[in-house]
């Protein structure tokens, strides 16, 4: 029998397979298809202080081996998430869930984090710092080590739950930003968010996405994500939740060898709604194939000569 259990800052998961925020709703669309309790956990739809419609449509564009999305954090706002969505989520998922939090000011992050801190079913806070800072000229919180560290410090001050900072790859040096988050008290790093991308419609000769650009995800970005996780693992001691183009149990293991303690499935959920379940089921036999008995022991294995 192989051991698939992993530990994220004291939160023990049955397996490292998670679903990424924005690709799994609040779980119940998928619970119609299979028992989602087979997952290690999942990160629910990014939550902001106020309700948001998000960006105008079209919000989706296809790419070779991936897609661009520009949803723009559509969500009903933290109050409704707590009063309406989380009770529904609890009926179909009985393990601690990951709360994904977005914000446009420091105060929004802390207000949402403080409210979700009180939710018993939430095991971990994942802070999306790819949002623009409206008081900082619209620059993303995650594009400078200073603002990334400041979000980390402020969120840590209002919650007892583990805080994982979800990093954007659209930066010059992701390692220094990860280190700044660790120094500011982050319990872990979640990476990578989508890569900024674009497509143009030849018929209309205009960008397909109404907002012109969007976040590129899917199997095409796997090598980029893997490389960044490998680099960040060398520099920080805190756990990493890895994501970016994962489609198979082999990808999960590869990402763990690079340094991820757990791995999220994102875009693949949208094209194969059974993807996460199939990966959970395939994991033990793939581990056996490569002579692995305990998943936790392989984390960062590629760094040990």
């Amino acid at each position: 029998m192989v051991n698939t259990k992993v530990n994220l800052s004291g939160l023990v998961l049955d397996n490292p397979v998670l679903c990424a925020s924005g690709t799994f709703g609040y779980g119940y669309e998928f619970a119609e298809l299979y028992d989602i309790n087979c997952l290690g956990s999942f990160s629910f739809k990014g939550t902001t202080k106020e309700p948001r419609f998000g960006n105008p449509t079209p919000r989706i564009a296809e790419c070779p081996m991936g897609m661009i999305n520009s949803v723009g954090l559509q969500n009903p706002g933290v109050e409704k998430v707590i009063s309406e969505e989380l009770p529904k989520l609890r009926r179909v998922f009985h393990k601690p869930v990951i709360a994904n939090i977005g914000g446009f000011t420091f105060e929004e992050y802390t207000e949402v984090a403080a409210l979700l801190d009180k939710e018993e079913g939430v095991g971990l806070l994942e802070i999306n710092i790819s949002c623009p800072n409206v008081h900082g000229g619209g620059m993303g919180f995650g594009t400078s080590a200073e603002t990334a560290a400041e979000v980390t410090r402020r969120v840590k001050a209002v919650t007892k739950k583990p805080v994982y900072i979800k990093l954007t790859p659209n930066v010059t040096d992701i390692v220094s930003i990860a280190k700044a988050c660790e120094d500011a008290g982050a319990d872990g790093i979640s990476m990578i968010n989508t890569l900024l991308g674009m497509r143009i419609d030849l018929r209309r000769k205009q960008p397909i996405i109404k907002n012109k650009m969007g976040g590129f995800s899917g199997p095409a970005i796997f090598p980029v994500a893997l490389r960044m996780i490998y680099q960040v693992y060398e520099a920080v001691k805190i756990p990493i939740i890895g994501m970016g183009g994962v489609t198979s149990a082999e990808d999960v293991i590869e990402m763990m060898l690079a340094g991820a303690s757990a791995v999220q499935i994102g875009a693949q959920n949208l094209v194969n709604p059974f993807a996460a379940k199939e990966i959970v089921e395939a994991l033990p036999s793939v581990m056996e194939k490569y002579g692995m008995e305990d998943l936790e022991s392989i984390i960062g294995g590629a760094h040990r000569g």
């Binding site: 669309e29 998928f30 298809l33 739809k45 449509t57 919000r59 081996m65 999305n69 559509q74 059974f274």
Partner: protein, 243 residues
């Protein structure tokens, strides 16, 4: 929603760039009319959503226009090819509001979902009138099929090469109807919204990520709140639409 593997039974070109695809497989998750399926295709990342034209216990008919990579690929597929479909998607048309004499208005590849709808309404003993609009005579399809069901059919073409010259709204003025159902390109839907004298239901299109409500890629604003075209749509009530 259900994932079902279908086999291609036949495929034929029924108008310019318009293909009729007949598939064999388990259709038990498909209900009513106006819903859609989402087809996985090798080598392409996203599935392709296509509206359901007709189905019985074992077969499913889809009509699609060749407009891009996905539909080009689909049109080249051989009989016997197995396809991975998500079926039972979308809310579909609500028949209960039709009254005794509903009007069905279709434009281009918006015509197919109205076919099953017409069948269901006629089975309930309703008097069904249909107006079908196309760009040109070469684009016309399913006129005879609707007529064979027992519906009154009018056809319009924008260039006047077949039927009444003009748009669907040019052939509706003298009709008496109790309710309407429509599907077609957005400019047509807008014109129909204005020209119709009764309540009705309109089916919308949008670029989708997943097609089953997970990604929020196809959201729209309505007078009754935010809706996902794939989940709370594609069919909306005339009165709730915000243009």
């Amino acid at each position: 929603m259900k994932q079902v593997f279908f086999k291609i039974l036949s495929q034929e070109c029924i108008a310019r760039d318009v293909m009729k695809l007949t598939l064999a497989g388990d259709t038990s998750a498909i209900q009513g009319s106006g819903g859609f399926v989402n087809i996985k295709m090798d080598g392409l990342f996203l599935r392709r959503p296509i509206s359901v034209c007709d189905y019985d216990d074992k077969t499913l008919t889809l009509i699609y226009k060749i407009v891009g990579k996905g539909t080009e690929k689909l049109a080249e597929m051989e009989n016997g090819t197995e396809l991975d479909l998500l079926v039972g998607l979308g809310n579909g048309y609500d028949l209960s509001k039709s009254g005794a004499a509903p009007l069905l208005i279709g434009g281009g590849v918006g015509v197919p979902p109205l076919y099953k709808l017409a069948k269901l309404l006629l089975a309930e003993g309703k008097r069904v009138q249909v107006v079908l609009g196309f760009n040109s005579g070469a684009d016309v399809f399913y006129e005879e099929e609707f007529r064979a069901l027992g519906a009154d059919v009018r056809v319009t073409t924008a260039d006047g090469s077949y039927g009444t010259k003009g748009f669907v709204t040019d052939a509706m003025g003298d009709l008496n109807y109790t309710y309407f159902y429509t599907c077609g390109p957005e400019p047509m839907l807008k014109a129909v919204h204005k020209a119709t004298k009764t309540s009705g239901q309109m089916s919308f299109e949008e670029r989708m990520g997943c097609g089953f409500g997970a990604c929020m890629g196809c959201s729209c604003k309505t007078l009754t709140g935010y809706k996902r075209i794939c989940k709370e749509g594609p069919v909306m009530e005339k009165e709730e639409i915000l243009w």
